[in-house]
């Protein structure tokens, strides 16, 4: 990074780039640096887990689930072509940089064969404040219950949705 910045300063001093280009290049380099290089860090055996990519959520009417998750989580909606599915992107990392999304979709043919079930998903909210989170969820039409740092609501299909802070749900606490 230091060499890159030094080259930029040299280019600025020699008139190859102007002030705006200098500042834009620094800002862009910062963003790229923050993206990290974990994608290059695959282990010798097995795979290196980076993140949840997506949750595939099947139900009788994907539009009802789509609208509920979009409202409760303020998500962006992608690829809804009226063909029985839509993608809802969460906050956090951008798409393609480790960000997660839910696919709400209509039932297919292979939903009931496993002997395991994902019985709920929990989502992290940063800058947690119990009162603010509870009020925001109530304003979205849900009935949150829970404890300090963690609340549960049920979506229109009766599926448990947990929302927690870093202290409410943390693998190391």
């Amino acid at each position: 990074m230091e060499r890159f910045i030094a080259d930029l300063v040299r280019s600025f001093e020699s008139g190859k780039i102007d002030r705006r280009q200098f500042c834009e290049a620094v800002a862009l380099a910062t963003t790229i640096f923050a993206a990290g290089s974990a994608a290059q860090a695959a282990p010798a055996r097995g795979l290196k887990m980076l993140a949840v990519n997506h949750v595939s959520y099947a139900c009788s009417d994907y539009r009802i689930a789509r609208d509920w998750y979009a409202k409760v989580f303020n998500t962006k909606i992608y690829n809804d072509k009226g063909m029985g599915r839509a993608n809802l992107e969460f906050g956090g990392p951008e798409p393609g940089k480790g960000g997660s999304f839910i696919i709400t979709r209509n039932f297919g043919n292979n939903e009931k064969t496993a002997r395991a079930v994902v019985d709920h998903i929990c989502y992290t909210v940063a800058n947690w404040d119990d009162t603010r989170v509870n009020n925001a969820l109530k304003a979205a039409g849900t009935n949150p219950t829970g404890r300090k740092g963690s609340v549960n609501v049920y979506d229109p299909n009766g599926y448990q949705v947990q929302i927690a802070s870093i202290d409410g749900e943390n693998p190391f606490i």
Partner: protein
């Protein structure tokens, strides 16, 4: 960052800082700005803004068998072992979630459980309703995704029912018949199903 760079450039041009100081301060700022936290993650008034997935609760007849399989395939440690559950974080203690800069977002984790979902809650809470949906598969992003390499790796680990799904994804079946998808970073809300 744009504003900071402009300020420092002004100081350099006015002789307040040296060329070396200009390079060092911008380098330092550019490499640490990611740790500054995310003020943009504050929840909205209606609904909340999720900074990411906190955990996945996976329930099956033998949680330890499931945990061992996921640990093997995804190189995950197991922490917090109890009689009927164990936790698999996506990294080591103290690490940040991938590409998340806010400091109050924990590593994502899977909780492997064996429990009766129809049992009444022990804390007197309302019973869990019967869900009419199903999460029919989970997809996980892995580092350095290459379909051919990943398929070969999975075969060497004894994984069953491996199916490529385009260039950016592979499906497989875990020991309990659950569909697990593995994706590269390129698979996103924008590209999937486009």
């Amino acid at each position: 960052m744009y504003g900071f760079a402009a300020t420092k450039l002004n100081e350099f041009e006015q002789g307040k800082i040296s060329r070396r100081q200009l390079i060092e301060t911008i380098t330092l700022a550019a490499t640490t700005v990611g740790a500054a936290g995310s003020a943009g993650a504050a929840p909205a008034q209606v609904g909340v803004t999720a900074a990411g997935i906190n955990h996945v609760s996976y329930n099956c007849p033998n949680f330890k068998q499931a945990a061992d399989w996921y640990s093997k395939v995804f190189n995950l440690d197991q922490v917090g072992l109890k009689d009927n559950e164990v936790t698999l974080p996506f990294g080591k203690k103290g690490e940040q979630p991938y590409n998340v800069t806010a400091k109050d977002v924990p590593l994502t984790f899977i909780i492997m459980r064996t429990r009766d979902l129809n049992a009444p809650p022990a804390n007197g809470a309302a019973p869990r309703p019967k869900a009419t949906n199903v999460v029919n598969h989970m997809a996980y992003t892995v580092a350095d995704f290459d379909s051919t390499r990943v398929q070969a790796e999975l075969k060497s680990l004894g994984v069953e029912n491996i199916r490529a799904a385009g260039a950016n994804a592979i499906h497989m079946t875990d020991p309990f018949g659950y569909d697990v998808e593995i994706c590269g970073l390129a698979n996103s809300a924008i590209t999937d199903g486009a």
